[in-house]
Symmetry: C3
Subunit: 366 residues, 3 copies
């Protein structure tokens, strides 16, 4: 990974009055540009081929300029241009996917957040270490099918983007449905309802490993719309479907808004807090936007099945505010919150805390 000192070196040449916020034109770019503009930044849309035509239909979110590439890999060579524009990249998962993890970790441009978090998120063993270290409850892994005691979610090796899974209500059904010629992993199926919790952690408001009041915010939550699982009940039960050769799949196609019982908020904040604190211990800390993907059970326990260490697309629902962010500040999207953090950090000379923030401490710790 690019050394922190190098990133801080770039910043010395930056004009703090003329920072450009850049991201790849996808995923959550509309709100990132909209938020950046509202906080007074210039905006730059990175794309390949040609600028997406549909941006013209959203004048408030259209970036001031585009950086048009032949392929996203070219971005590495264009880093100098980006730095000349005093650019801070706001990453999202499409940007990382297009750029590749290696390039993302190395690109010689300041990036909002802690880049190293991607390594803790994308490696399942590290993610578990982090989440379990934070004291969260996760769906149990089941190594031996004979240990199946209740419903399970089975994932075939190579499953990707929501396909290659099946559920079974018990061992018998697992046994009937599983394709024994393929490799698979088994995980407890948690019965409950899904909540994707959108947090924002501000290192410049925090003063230690135990989070200060107000340094962790909850800006919104959503439920992902998954195709075809979300509506396939209209055709049959999972069992009936599989027997007809039809497979429920979990590909994300969008998001729906929701709120949680207010009495769950203490638990939701405490969950977020522990996840941040453990990340501070492990790798210098998740920074800015992150998302905990959870199931709320009928016991009101919260089980965590996944984590994202940057802005998630579910926040696209809340471009003009959410039932939670409205209590922080009017019309506060996650994109705008990120821009505001950059502005505040710049104003108070703390950009080092939010850009590649933790890599040094991380390397020292190792």
């Amino acid at each position: 990974m690019i050394p922190k000192q190098q990133v801080l070196g770039f910043l010395k040449d930056y004009d703090p009055e003329s920072i450009t916020v850049a991201t790849v034109c996808s995923h959550s770019s509309l709100q990132i540009f909209d938020g950046a503009r509202k906080e007074g930044f210039k905006t730059l849309g990175i794309c390949t081929g040609k600028p997406p035509k549909f941006y013209d239909a959203f004048p408030r979110a259209k970036p001031d300029e585009y950086l048009v590439l032949e392929s996203y890999g070219d971005l590495m060579e264009r880093a100098g241009e980006l730095r000349k524009r005093n650019t801070i990249i706001v990453p999202h998962s499409s940007l990382i996917a297009h750029l590749g993890k290696e390039n993302y970790l190395e690109i010689p441009v300041p990036v909002f957040g802690n880049r190293v978090a991607i390594e803790w998120e994308s490696d399942r063993a590290k993610e578990c270490k982090w989440l379990l270290g934070a004291g969260t409850q996760m769906p149990r892994k089941i190594d031996n099918p004979h240990d199946i005691k209740g419903p399970v979610m089975v994932e075939y090796e190579g499953a990707q983007g929501g396909k290659g899974f099946f559920v079974a209500k018990n061992y018998e059904e697992f046994n009937e449905l599983v394709d024994h010629t393929r490799k698979f992993t088994i995980q407890e199926f948690i019965t409950g309802t899904r909540y994707y919790l959108h947090y924002f952690y501000s290192p410049i408001r925090n003063e230690g490993y135990t989070l200060s009041r107000g340094s962790l915010e909850l800006l919104s939550m959503d439920r992902r719309v998954e195709s075809n699982a979300d509506e396939i009940f209209r055709l049959g039960s999972p069992r009936e479907l599989i027997e007809s050769g039809i497979n429920p799949t979990y590909v994300i196609t969008g998001n729906m808004p929701l709120v949680a019982r207010e009495s769950l908020l203490s638990r939701i904040f405490s969950l977020g807090e522990k996840v941040v604190e453990e990340s501070l211990n492990l790798f210098g800390g998740v920074t800015g936007a992150f998302c905990i993907e959870a199931v709320v059970m009928d016991s009101l326990e919260i089980k965590v099945f996944e984590l994202s260490t940057r802005i998630v697309a579910g926040t696209n629902l809340y471009i003009s505010g959410s039932p939670y962010s409205d209590l922080v500040q009017k019309q506060l999207s996650m994109g705008r919150r990120i821009a505001f953090e950059i502005k505040e950090a710049s104003r108070t000379n703390q950009l080092d805390k939010i850009l590649s923030r933790s890599s040094m401490r991380y390397y020292y710790k190792k």
Copy 2:
């Protein structure tokens, strides 16, 4: 119940320029505090142990002060303090649950709304009398299982908070699934989609949608998110699940927004109107926020299965307004509407109409 005259007596010593809105820190307190502040009131959060840390993350909703108790029962002794602060309590169901119904009816502090409504809501026989008297259609109770002609919802004695229910599609299935060693009640299962309708009845307003003694508003609606029933179709049909020993449950974990067909609005208002009118006849009237919990069938008939006589948590979705309240006033949450009602009643010297409003008439009637 505390006599109305006594409550009115308290008000004589109140400084109308310095009223405090208080509630227990849970359920819908964020919007109650946010709304009260927007209408110019001081706010007081009642809690046990210590103030919830997460309020710091919502600066616009954080109450000005806290009243920290060892246990909620202590609130009775602290009534004097509350009155010294010119406090009006805005109740929600967590407040009543924590305080206990008896204390709620007796606490010597002005409470927004008609306290006696709780007796008509929490007693199923009274609730039916009210709803049927209002001409609403309710799911039929079935005393003898042999009378089961279609789908039913069965509730075991002692069922609580969404657990202890099962559905059956017909008599045969009922018979197979029921645990005959337990006591149960049977109710028709209405096929349709759920709508939770958030009304506000103002006894002091005589313009707008007028009733015989006030006016009615519809501020929003929601669908409750119930765990695990809302997503358990991903695992199997109810039948398949029960055969695997997995029970669908109906514990509320949150809320999703929705709107109804505009052509249903006439019916929805007429429903609310009749419910208010009947409550005026029976016990002096539901006052302020109330919610009708309904199923809209494919015939577009509305069946009512429950009633709440105060602010419901589904309104938490609409802290900055809803597709309905936006047509009443910009950024009008239910919490703010309540605060506005207190302000208007105070300004026009009609607090007697919205605080313990109807107890006297109720006692006269008995």
Copy 3:
């Protein structure tokens, strides 16, 4: 259909400073009136019997005046009155249903949009010609049951408003479930999740048959709430239900908000664009609000199953803006967008482009 010249003739006598926006009091009238008022128009609510009382509860949306009819058919005779008020009718599907298609095509009053579009929408063969001409993918029609290879949706002749359908997972199930004494049509059942996409096409921003940038907007999207299909999974799988004599039905009772993955937006815009361009070729073009009703599959392909050529009720969710329209202009509902288009067209002397816009070209083409 009324000749375009006649409509343009009416406009010569109109006072552009005093236009009245009128519609029937149902469907999406609240936002049409609210939007029209925000853009400075007078508003007129058309109703039978007496004005709906519930409008009084929505002061910001209540029309300035009502035109109270004995029956909607009387509107034809009252056309003169409407013109005297400089009225432009904004149609919605209830208005067309109440008035009747013939009257709608003939009524001698300016109507927003291209009236002839109704003929292309309501005739299934024409609709297919349009959609397939636009290169959209639609569910396949299956003429011979023996060609059923996967899940199907079967519609009995005379099915109306969401009733008279059933689904089958394969040929065997179709065969078991179908009532052979009735006539039916069979269509491929697309597994995925439903999105109703709310577009606005502005002819006054466009300059040709290939859409100019910015002339097509996407203002919002929703998912329809269908009774009883949306919640009947709580009772059983479709198969189990039908075997118990319970029929899933698809009657629209309301709408829920959602957003789509940002990476789908290019495809969504391209879809809308092709649909508009083909309509320009076929009949002079859909004008203003239209809706594409689609299923997004787990392959992220979009299949189109229906089209509406005017404002749809799903936009009622977004009376104060949506996550998409907020990026066009603050607090922009579809109702307001329509009013703004009328204002702009009037200001720039282009009303001919948005009122019965295309009938002439259409007749020339035939």
